[in-house]
Amino acid sequence: MEATVVKTGTEGKTWGGGQNPPLKASYGKLMMWFFILSDALTFSGFLAAYGFSRYKFIDSWPVADEVFNHFPFLHGVDAPMYYVALMTFILIFSSVTMVLAVDAGHQMKKSKVVFYMFLTLIGGIIFLGSQAWEWKNFIQGTYGAVETRSGNIIQFLDTDGKRVALSDIALESTQRAVHDRSSGIWYTTDETLSTYTIDDIKSGFAEKENLLVRIQKLDENGHPIVLSREESIAKLNDSGIRVVEGANLYRNEYGHPLFGNFFFFITGFHGFHVFTGVLINLIIFFNILLGTYERRGSYEMVEKVGLYWHFVDLVWVFVFTFFYLV
């Protein structure tokens, strides 16, 4: 146990930064900075690729506040972005408690470091839970849409310009029952079936006079084009081939499939960082409780994991902008 408490034994030698460290930072802190730099480049590679695909398919890219419009306990209420804004605050606040812990560490106040680290951990865990909830909503979808032969998505509006859900279009569901093991098909699992078949949607759409189709093409002001009633019926009947509900890696009801792929990958990769951040914070938290850094005479370890935690917050600031705002 002694080895974890005393200094690394490399002070003044090459691995400890040498006799005259030019950057005046410890080895561990420098390496944390360079790890963060390389991780930042990884994330910007992902986000730049996202930007590339978005510019390439700018017409069929989903509008963020139609995708993320849920808030806990407010069912059916259109609440664009409130929840991600809350998540952003939670993460920024856990960054604040982290930096307060570092600050308390500088003054060697153990109980304060413990308290602030605890708050940081709680913030991280709440954020992870929120992200899971956000994924659930994204996967489940809200309104549903129809895919055309070319793989584009068409969505449904009423004459007031409000989105209409598939359940309000179809008169009845003629979808077949799911094959399961008890019904005799034991050697394979059935595909996931949509609630309605494409014919249910087509007949319901023809019946209800106030429905229109919105296609993924932008007018000169950058708004998606809504077709007239006749064009809508023709579009749906000629090219609609599949009902899409929610999102998976192949298609999503919001727009271009790549949006779903990038959403899962980038927020997933960020969530993985938050998860490891929480784990590392937890280890450091126990070390503080055990008094390791009190005996070492320095809370620099808290500072190093703090750097990582702030970086995770920093990445979220960018993810928030490019997925939810822009």
């Binding site: 930072a25 410890s26 910007s44 730049a48 978005r54 952003t88 920024i92 960054s95 055309t148 939810y324």
Partner: protein
């Protein structure tokens, strides 16, 4: 500890920066919800003014997180430049290349002879 000579608390500055970050976030969210028509339909360098505001506010927030929370302001000039300049120059280059190229492919799809929206 590199900059450990001063042990007085900087709690005040931390809360000040938190206030700045919160205000920036609130402005972003409010603008994102109301989406003023003027900002959405006016373009600068082929991007909506609203998006420019979002991106500038994001960089503003990133600056404060790095400088105040990650304490970059207290590091030596060498460390600061090694980290920040590397990221800023590489990322600007990559983003420039990819966005220009993405827009080019969009134009090809739009005006080319291949029908892809049927």
């Amino acid at each position: 500890m590199a900059h450990g000579a001063t042990h007085e608390s900087s709690t005040k500055r931390i809360w000040y920066v938190f206030t700045l970050l919160s205000i920036a976030t609130i402005v972003e969210v409010v603008l994102g919800i109301i989406k003023p028509q003027f900002l959405v339909e006016t373009k600068f360098l082929s991007m909506k003014l609203l998006n420019w505001i979002f991106i500038l506010l994001t960089i503003y927030k990133a600056y404060y997180i790095t400088w105040a929370f990650m304490h970059m302001e207290g590091e030596t000039k060498g460390l600061r430049r090694a980290v920040v300049w590397t990221a800023v120059f590489l990322i600007s280059y990559l983003v420039f290349i990819l966005l220009v190229e993405g827009d080019y492919i969009y134009e090809v799809y739009k005006s080319g002879f291949v029908k892809y929206n049927f």
